[in-house]
């Protein structure tokens, strides 16, 4: 189980910053910029939420298998595929949160900050980001939890190779298959604990947010 836990943690170490940057960035783009194909991009980004993981995994497998670069790099059925498999279904959660977070920041505050003599970069860091912070963190917590718990997509593109791509959820599946319920339980409880902690964190973030606004 330690090996599966380690792989899951390694996936998170890479996926959490990716979720923050990619998901946060896409959300900002969708909330703040008007461009051709914005709605199409929005739909595309949201699609993984409603598609069954197996469908998502299948297409990912087909796409990655066709691109020489990924094939030659041994991307599929290896650790990078596990990272991608966990990232893809959790990205929409972050994008949605980030879009809502940035849309919720009053544009007038940013405009006021500009007239007070601050450049756009400073305005983003000191006004926009702090005001969007709570919703962004909520999104990050929920999407990270989703990434940690991914089963289907990871299984499709990375397989279930102990020590290489077997994350905690896949480990549980393996243990149940070989009727090792005690080990499965232990890993499952760990995930439940992580889930409770992150939900608690989200609740607390949201509650603090309301307090500050009142």
């Amino acid at each position: 189980m330690e090996r599966a836990l380690l792989i899951s943690l390694k996936v998170l170490v890479i996926d959490v910053p990716l979720l923050a940057l990619l998901g946060g960035g896409l959300g900002w783009l969708l909330a703040r910029k008007v461009f051709h194909g914005r709605e199409a991009l929005s739909l595309l980004v949201q699609l993984p939420i409603i598609l069954p993981p197996s469908v998502l995994g299948l297409y990912l497998l087909l796409v990655l298998g066709r691109i020489d670069f990924f094939r030659e790099a041994g991307f599929l059925f290896a650790f990078p595929a596990a990272v991608l498999g966990a990232l893809l279904p959790s990205l929409p959660i972050m994008v949605q949160a980030s879009r809502a977070a940035f849309a919720g920041v009053d544009r007038e505050l940013e405009e006021a900050a500009l007239t007070l003599g601050r450049g756009p970069g400073e305005v983003f860091l000191r006004i926009t980001l702090p005001l969007a912070r709570r919703t962004l963190l909520v999104g990050l917590a929920l999407s990270s939890a989703r990434a940690l718990g991914d089963f289907g997509v990871t299984l499709m593109v990375a397989g279930n190779i102990p020590g290489r791509t077997q994350t905690l959820p896949l480990y549980i599946y393996g243990q149940v298959e070989s009727l090792n319920f005690a080990k499965a339980h232990f890993a499952a409880l760990l995930l439940v604990a992580v889930g409770i902690v992150s939900l608690y964190a989200v609740r607390k973030l949201e509650a603090d947010g309301h307090e500050n606004l009142s």
């Binding site: 007038e108 405009e111 500009l114 007239t115 007070l116 450049g119 756009p120 000191r126 006004i127 005001l131």
Partner: protein
């Protein structure tokens, strides 16, 4: 007064067209107009938060925007502080941090000292650690003013920031703003749709309507002198009649215009004139009671065309066989039966309330006539 701001802005937004051009000295200008007339849009353009299709803005001799020569100074470099209607205080920063945000470069100690000075200037030094959510409406306004002034602006733009406050608070803030202007000498442009702001705050008033400036007046001219009539005309409020002063059939002086006659008080000079009757001086008459002898000749009957209630004031437009009349009354002075459109109302114009402005030669308004002196009685 030496010109400090020169602005020329033309912008098209859907069906709406903004086309204004004005200048302002080191004084308080009031941009007055109804909602949707383009007041706020003008301010946003001045501040650089919108870029107009055409125009030129120069502030203190520095061109900050010119579409012909492609000069564009971004808002953060214009040094025009803008006070938004809802103030736009940063909710995640304390009062001090908000003001500090506006302080330009320097060491942290210098900036902090400056922010504290401005907070003290608006008497909020004791509240520096409070967040905007923990301050009262008036205190928030003062933080916003301090924050704007801390940027060392070359001009201050205000978008009805006091409109949400009640009377006494608003009066205090207006006084503070005037003090601030006198102290710093920077031009201030104040946008409002409230008449009381004009005289209480401004040196100069610019009237804006449907995206165009319809006129401008010095406030001193509104308070006394012939500018008063132009003011009422631009406001679209007040009874203004063009005619002549003559001796009437009963041997009394009266003002005669195309549709009727009004008996005047005393014996003012004869000749062509404009008569102005302030709507609040017109009196309702109860038909069941005998009419005051002085008023008897000036009684009219009108049909209520429109009744507006604003604040504690009732404004009524009446149609009579002698043209339209306007009446304004404070609440409580009005029989409720009169309020309904379509109803018939008797009213009288007290002779002492008729202000006369004589024509000199070609319809030129010169000075207030004799009648006006009596109108203040």
């Amino acid at each position: 007064m030496k010109t400090c701001l020169e602005a020329e802005i033309r912008e098209k937004l859907g069906d709406f067209q903004l086309d204004v051009s004005f200048s302002l000295g080191r004084e308080i200008g009031v941009l007055f107009g109804p909602s949707g007339s383009g007041k706020s849009l003008t301010l946003l353009n001045l501040a650089g938060l919108r870029s107009p299709a055409e125009g030129r803005i120069a502030l203190a001799g520095r061109v900050v925007m010119d579409t012909r020569t492609r000069v564009w100074t971004p808002p953060q470099k214009r040094r025009m502080a803008l006070l938004f209607q809802n103030l736009a205080l940063f909710p995640h920063m304390t009062a001090l941090e908000n003001v500090l945000f506006g302080c330009p470069g320097g060491t942290t100690t210098e900036r902090l000292a400056k922010a504290r000075t401005w907070l003290a200037r608006v008497r909020l030094e004791a509240f520096e650690r409070r967040y905007p959510g923990q301050l009262s409406g008036g205190q928030r306004q003062r933080v916003a003013i301090a924050r704007a002034m801390a940027t060392d602006p070359e001009m201050l733009l205000l978008d009805e920031p006091f409109s949400s406050l009640d009377g006494p608070l608003r009066r205090n803030l207006r006084r503070e703003l005037r003090g601030l202007q006198a102290e710093t000498g920077i031009p201030i442009l104040y946008v409002t749709h409230q008449v009381e702001d004009i005289c209480a705050l401004g040196d100069k008033v610019l009237f804006i309507e449907k995206g165009k400036l319809s006129g401008s007046l010095l406030v001193d001219e509104i308070l006394e002198g012939p500018g008063r009539i132009s003011f009422w005309r631009m406001m679209g409020w007040g009874n203004i009649l063009e005619g002549e002063v003559k001796v009437g059939s009963k041997g009394r002086h009266c003002f005669s215009w195309g549709q009727g006659e009004l008996t005047l008080k005393g014996a003012p000079r004869l000749g062509g004139a404009i008569a102005f009757v302030s709507p609040e001086k017109v009196r309702f008459i109860d038909p069941r009671l005998p009419v005051d002898a002085e008023l008897a000749d000036n009684v009219f009957t009108g049909k209520v065309d429109e009744t507006l209630m604003e604040g504690g004031t009732l404004r009524m437009h009446l149609l009579t066989d002698r043209g339209p009349w306007q009446i304004e009354k404070r609440n409580g002075n009005v029989p409720h039966i009169l309020l309904r459109p379509g109803g018939m109302v008797d009213f009288a114009v007290p002779p002492g309330s008729i202000e006369l402005i004589y024509f000199k030669g070609e319809k030129e308004e010169i000075s207030l006539g004799q009648g006006s002196a009596e109108s203040h009685s």
